[in-house]
């Protein structure tokens, strides 16, 4: 995939208490293919809504194109997407092997292929010795690796990461994001990574998209965004400093 083009995206939620809530409006951007795109902004700015629209999980107005193909013409399955969130969503009642293999089992892949691919991924993430264990026996970091391995098993063309490391302590978060970036790069896929941590964005991104109040505030390479003196970016910088001071 070369790029995802988003034009005038509008997403409106119906809320019982607040009525219609506009989560995204006039939202236009380009997500670069085979690159790590980081979407950053404060809570409630529409980051996750954007991910869900790309994944085809919610209704929207406007256009999303995967290369030249309108996303409306693609089923969720055809988009070949894998989503990883902070909850990992591992099945607690089955072991790690079965968790990783699940997407392939659902797709009806041959058993030999499932075994080979699960073993390769487990080897890659250093969790081969955990394959017979249930998720509850694993640490948070190992569970994250399982979630990643499961996301990668079908070799998706696009990864959507929704604050996958927000439950980690700073040291583990650093190690985990290196691992995620390497895994996506090695696979040669496109990633959209949502975070509210500017450090994380600068470290991971090939392309940064800053969102505020449902609109794209600024986007570009990390150095350009960091030095832009944009109001939202400056505010995010001050939060980084503040957080570092607290630690």
């Amino acid at each position: 995939m070369k790029k995802i083009t988003v034009n005038n995206l509008k997403v409106v939620y119906k809320d019982k208490k607040r009525g219609n809530v506009t989560a995204l409006e006039n939202f236009s951007t380009v997500v670069f293919g085979n690159a790590f795109n980081v979407v950053i902004g404060y809570s409630g700015c529409g980051k996750t809504t954007f991910l869900r629209a790309v994944a085809g999980l919610i209704e929207y107005e406007g256009d999303i194109f995967f290369d030249d193909v309108d996303a409306f013409d693609l089923t969720v399955k055809d988009r070949n997407i894998a989503m990883v969130s902070q909850e990992y969503a591992l099945y607690p009642h089955i072991n790690v092997f079965d968790n990783i293999a699940y997407p392939l089992v659902l797709a009806g892949a041959p058993r030999s292929e499932i075994i080979e691919r699960v073993n390769n991924l487990a080897e890659y993430f250093g969790i081969k010795h955990c394959l017979t264990r249930k998720p509850k026996h694993l640490s948070g970091g190992q569970q994250q690796k399982v979630a990643l391995a499961r996301a990668m098993i079908k070799m998706p063309q696009l990864y959507l990461f929704d604050e996958p490391l927000s439950n980690f302590d700073p040291q583990k978060r650093y190690e985990a994001r290196q691992m995620i970036k390497k895994a996506v790069k090695d696979h040669g896929a496109t990633a959209i990574y949502v975070t509210h941590d500017l450090n994380e964005a600068m470290e991971l991104a090939d392309n940064v998209i800053v969102i505020d109040k449902g609109k794209v505030e600024i986007s570009g390479n990390p150095a350009y965004v960091f030095n832009s003196h944009d109001e939202v970016v400056e505010s995010l910088k001050s939060k980084v400093d503040h957080e570092q001071f607290i630690r």
Binding site: Y91, V118, C130, K136, S139, Q142
Partner: protein, 283 residues
Amino acid sequence: MSLFFRSKKADHDFEEDKLPSNRKEVFFDALKIRAGTLIRLGLVLLLFAAPLIVAGFIKDSYYYIVQTSYAQGEMTEENYSGIIFTIELFYYVAKIICFIVLGLGLSGVLRVIRQIIWGEPVFFWHDIFDGIKMQGARYSIYFFFAGLLNLLGRLVIFFGFNSEFLKYLPLGLNYVLFLPPLLYALIQSQIYRFRLLDEYKNGFILYFKTIPQTVLVTIIVCLPLLFDLISLLVLKYAVIAIYVVAVLPLLTMGEFLYFMSVLDRYINKERYPEIYDKGVRRK
């Protein structure tokens, strides 16, 4: 939905040294992490043992009716013996077929148990059918002979010698000479591609090399014979069903592990080092 899938986490990484380092640990580890699979295996065994259980129940019911009639003086001793013989004959002939069915099921179940104790992925129904497809015919032959020898042993009891010892000798030999090598053969089928006779011959050799331990395992295998001591029919068959579902898979797994250790010592170490100690963490 996310709440439903939010699983617990361990405080520390799961390290490799927590994996089982001997066969005893493999057994208890499998109990802990594969309890659900073992129960499913028990249910599969119950399905394949059902014809045998039903045949036994019918035989015991007839026995009860005939014995009651005889006790009430409604039939002569000659009649009584004749009817009992007919019931037994039908039962032991039917048992051959029931044994073959059980053998088919066991070929699938042992395949899954092999995967469990080797720490390999289990595709439950796939492995069951694979086991039946690959070993079903061989197990059917073994179990056919087991049923046939059982029938012949019973016939000798009926028509055979006057001496009590000689009467029960063939049946005894069946348990002492036929069964232990058979147990080895069943396990070898799941691991190697030997010819049937070679498998059985190996079983004999290994049996004689490990007589005390193998006799003990054979006694454990034969423990269900004690269920005949339960006089209340419903209770007896309820106990048998519970045994098949809850106990038999564990015993079978324990036996598989024992036989694997023997095969490791006498065959794998020299000839097949790639499967030596398989499923056990090597220190």
